[in-house]
């Protein structure tokens, strides 16, 4: 089973990102479970969401405390939350940041400037979907094609222009990430 934990702040779309990863993996024929941790969720407060992906039905429930991948939507969380907690040694920590960051973890740490990419392509700081392009680049759990589908599925009630801009941002992030 492959486990992903997403850290963000309320309003940044950590839940939506988890749903999109879930939809994309589901489209690729995987068994999937995704959910967001609720509690005192409100704009700006640290929040988490989770995805489990497997080849057989998922029997684990609840929080993911031993993720293979951690996505951090907002780098200011690094001072507040131990985002690398429980992360697998051969895992990946991917942070939305314009510069490299020092994080105390044996896992691979990568960064991508999803905010700038989102501002350039969507015109708004919608970095939650944008960052998924980098996730597709660094792992083989979701493909860009599946993400296209997931974006349409999850943003069905948004204007066509918005959906296309999100797809473009994801592709741009995929190209830029390294």
């Amino acid at each position: 089973m492959y486990k992903i934990r997403i850290h963000g702040r309320g309003g940044q779309g950590a839940k939506k990102a988890a749903k999109m990863i879930g939809q994309a993996a589901f489209k690729m024929g995987k068994q999937v479970q995704d959910f967001a941790l609720y509690g005192a969720e409100r704009r700006g407060a640290p929040v988490m969401s989770f995805v489990r992906i497997g080849d057989t039905p998922i029997l684990e429930r609840g929080y993911v405390d031993d993720p293979d991948v951690v996505l951090v939507l907002d780098k200011t969380l690094l001072d507040l939350v131990n985002v690398a907690d429980g992360l697998a040694e051969n895992g990946l920590l991917l942070v939305n940041s314009e510069h490299e960051l020092a994080v105390d973890t044996p896992a691979t740490v990568k960064h991508v400037d999803a905010t700038s990419i989102a501002l350039d392509t969507i015109g708004k700081p919608i970095f939650n979907t944008t960052m998924l392009g980098a996730l597709a680049k660094f792992t083989n759990i979701i493909s860009i094609d599946a993400l296209d589908w997931a974006i349409e599925e999850e943003l069905f009630n948004y204007p066509k222009k918005m959906i296309e801009a999100n797809k473009t941002a994801v592709k741009k992030c995929y190209e830029v990430a390294k």
Binding site: Q33, F35, E60, R61, G62
Partner: protein
């Protein structure tokens, strides 16, 4: 039929959409709100053309409106959680006493005070004696399937009682899982058009729920007998559900019980993690452990439970609920069910997972080990798994 990723809330809403009720009175509460929001969106999109959606001013009003609508023969759906379910409590007895086949999804959340948003089963089990029939689902597929079955059972003339379908808040209500959504044609075959039996009509004025004298006992007895009848009806409906949809349900959910010496008795979503732990313990340690999940809480399927536990040597009743001063709510029910058997297992009680305290595989294994010890010593235990209650300062306000 299509496979799709939906949350537990959406699964309940899909159940209602496929049934096409006439009336959905609502009041929002975390973690149920997504369910009624989904229905509201579908109704505004024209997906439920014959459904009238109401936003009331409280849950007490919701259930009162549900009673009124059902009394004139409407097919009714609603949903609530936690404090909202408690606010309905008075009217739940009226719905059952008036024998109105209302179906309600309940999304379990712990009760105040202190406030928790996360799940345990006290809200649901608080309605245990209300006269409603009570289902508890383990996963999102079961939520949808039980909503469909609930209407068939509620509307059967041998029963005519309201039905609750419970799911755990957050763990199911906000979790996306792949489920199969049946086609409307299949649902039409499974669930006949509702023909109300004892309703108020313009040309047939009747009084329902009036003050009575000696007849009171008879009405209460009818409620009881109708609920007992529901066991047989449930089995018929589950057979028919399997025939049409190809998914098999029973009154109780048995998992690896054939050779099980140790049995965990569970309710709701924690059963999934428990099953995973059981498979591991069997594979890695050769422990003969199995699981019995309580799917039907009311009516109490005593025979099915006794049959499932007849070969067990030790049973752990895992209660995600608490009757303070008493303990786990289902523990005495299980003990009573086994008491008059010729050969009965040792039964231990564990209170776990209050207010969303995570029920991990690790904790299930811990409970199983304790049960093995109990079997060895021959002494059952009554214990909390998440906290030590034997050495507790009741005036310590710092909490854990």
């Amino acid at each position: 039929m299509k496979q799709t990723l939906v949350t537990g809330n959406e699964a309940a809403a899909w159940g209602a959409r496929l049934v096409q009720p006439n009336y959905i009175p609502t009041f929002p509460i975390t973690p149920q709100t997504e369910c009624i929001e989904t229905l509201a969106r579908w109704i505004s999109d024209g997906e439920l053309p014959g459904t009238y959606f109401d936003r009331m001013e409280s849950e007490h009003s919701v259930m009162s409106a549900a009673v009124g609508a059902a009394a004139v023969g409407a097919r009714v759906f609603t949903a609530t959680s936690s404090q909202g379910l408690l606010l309905m409590h008075e009217v739940l007895y009226i719905a059952a006493g008036m024998r109105l086949p209302i179906v309600m999804a309940t999304i379990s959340r712990g009760l105040s005070a202190p406030v928790t948003l996360w799940s345990d089963h006290n809200d649901f089990l608080d309605q245990r004696d209300s006269g409603w029939l009570m289902f508890h689902a383990e996963n999102n597929q079961e939520v949808l399937d039980l909503v469909l079955q609930a209407y068939r059972i509620a509307e059967d003339s041998r029963v005519l009682l309201p039905v609750m379908v419970n799911m755990d808040g957050y763990v199911l209500s906000f979790t996306d899982e792949p489920i199969t959504i049946p086609s409307p044609e299949m649902v039409k075959e499974f669930l006949p058009k509702y023909t109300p039996k004892h309703t108020i009509a313009k040309d047939r004025p009747v009084t329902v729920g009036p003050p009575v004298l000696d007849e009171y006992t008879i009405f209460r007895a009818q409620n009881h007998v109708a609920a007992r009848n529901a066991l047989e009806v449930m089995e018929e409906v589950m057979d028919d559900f399997d025939r049409i949809f190809g998914r098999r349900y029973h009154l109780v959910d048995e998992f690896m019980l054939d050779d099980a010496e140790l049995v965990l008795v569970t309710q709701g979503s924690m059963s999934t993690t428990a099953k995973a732990a059981i498979m591991e313990m069997r594979d890695e340690e050769g422990i003969k452990v199995g699981l019995l999940r309580l799917r039907v809480i009311r009516p109490w399927p005593a025979k099915a439970i006794a049959e499932a536990l007849k070969n067990a040597k030790a049973v752990a009743v895992i209660d995600r609920n608490l009757a303070p001063g008493r303990g786990g709510i289902m523990f005495p029910e299980i003990v009573e069910t086994l008491y008059n058997l010729d050969r009965r297992p040792l039964v231990s009680s564990f209170v776990v997972g209050l207010g969303g305290n995570p029920q991990t595989e690790h904790k299930v294994k811990e409970i199983t080990r304790k049960l093995m010890d109990d079997l060895e010593t021959g002494r059952p235990r009554v214990e909390w798994n998440d906290v030590d209650v034997n050495d507790m300062d009741v005036n310590d306000m710092e909490g854990l």
